[in-house]
Symmetry: C2
Subunit: 244 residues, 2 copies
Amino acid sequence: MEINSVQNERVKLWDKLKQKKYRDETGRFVVQEKHLILEALQAQLLETLIIRKGVKNEFPLEAIEVSDPVMKKLSSNVSLNDYIAICRKSDKKPDKKEMVIVLERVQDPGNLGTIIRTAYSLGYDAVYLSNDCCDEYNEKCLQSTQGAIFHLPVIRESMPDIVRELRKDGLTLIATCLREASMLRETAVPDKYALIFGNEGRGLTEETIEASDLRVKIEMDRFESLNVAAAAAICAYQFRYGRK
Amino acid sequence: MEINSVQNERVKLWDKLKQKKYRDETGRFVVQEKHLILEALQAQLLETLIIRKGVKNEFPLEAIEVSDPVMKKLSSNVSLNDYIAICRKSDKKPDKKEMVIVLERVQDPGNLGTIIRTAYSLGYDAVYLSNDCCDEYNEKCLQSTQGAIFHLPVIRESMPDIVRELRKDGLTLIATCLREASMLRETAVPDKYALIFGNEGRGLTEETIEASDLRVKIEMDRFESLNVAAAAAICAYQFRYGRK
């Protein structure tokens, strides 16, 4: 199949997926990098492969060939993509819930994606996002996950629902905050736990801190300031591996 | 003093500081966020404060007032800044060299800045950058440091010079890599050490791995992939605080 016109109805629909609103409505999103497309394929999330006319199809599935103007319309980078994939969002549920990461109103897609990547690499079972986090299917976020988002359950709910669900499942809720918190190194690791991180500038909400079972802070020499993805990496590693 | 024309010679020079070449030539750089300007002022690096005409000067030093078109020319964001500061690069030397972080050809300014911020918060003495790292005075990098770059010595040299200097000072050079490396948790912490991290996609060069005294890798469950700023946070914390 071949599409040459930027006025084509399917092209218009695909193009709309750059906006969160249409990703939410359709449950679909766009992947623009070849190695990420491969990850999406392996995770069986790839629905439509779009290829620039004249480029050899290196994927083991049929592609829709498009003209350069169509590819240009769909690409968000300056240079023309050879491939673009339309994928469906994963509805993967966690196999178990023993170690999870929860993010509350994290706004930077690079931070969000980096944390999903860290959680997957360190063997966490899922990442929970409060509804007011930035969209995990944002292109920058997808890129920062390096594909981890296609394999790890990422669940978006209201913060009260997340707290209720994880508590019901018997996880200890651990808030990261500066006030009245025990030092990370001295905190015993519970059997099952959720590490909760907040907004880049404002941290966790008071409600979430109050709803937690434990408060933890990272030892620091000065500045009392860490990027949230760096803080999440430190805590996630410490709880998973740093202690026996 | 007041400048109204975008053709003014000083405006043209300031504007050129958006380019690395001119930052290198002049030893000057631009700071665009109010809280970062305050950090630069505290670190005594602020040389010229530029203020949008009509805005109240909240800083304890005289400012040059500029018209909106001038401020627009100097601003790299879409909205107009109220303040912009021209600062000089710090030539701060480390007071001591017991714990340092070394980055080799790190390319992403967000990663570079985040690592400088982490190093400062966790009490490291300096960050060394190989000459082929991205520019630490890039706007995105400055923003990611959250001002830590104004307080912590950041030293840019060739990689062989960095290795030579740190070895002379008696630091144990610790390369982070996957091959023939001991696990982070099982690595004894030397008295004085340099943690070395490499490029986002390609890691450390073979020469740097060979020149190191130890090789360390982070325990992972799967994926064998962490963002370099996340990896640096995990290692920096583990060496500094995670162990006794």
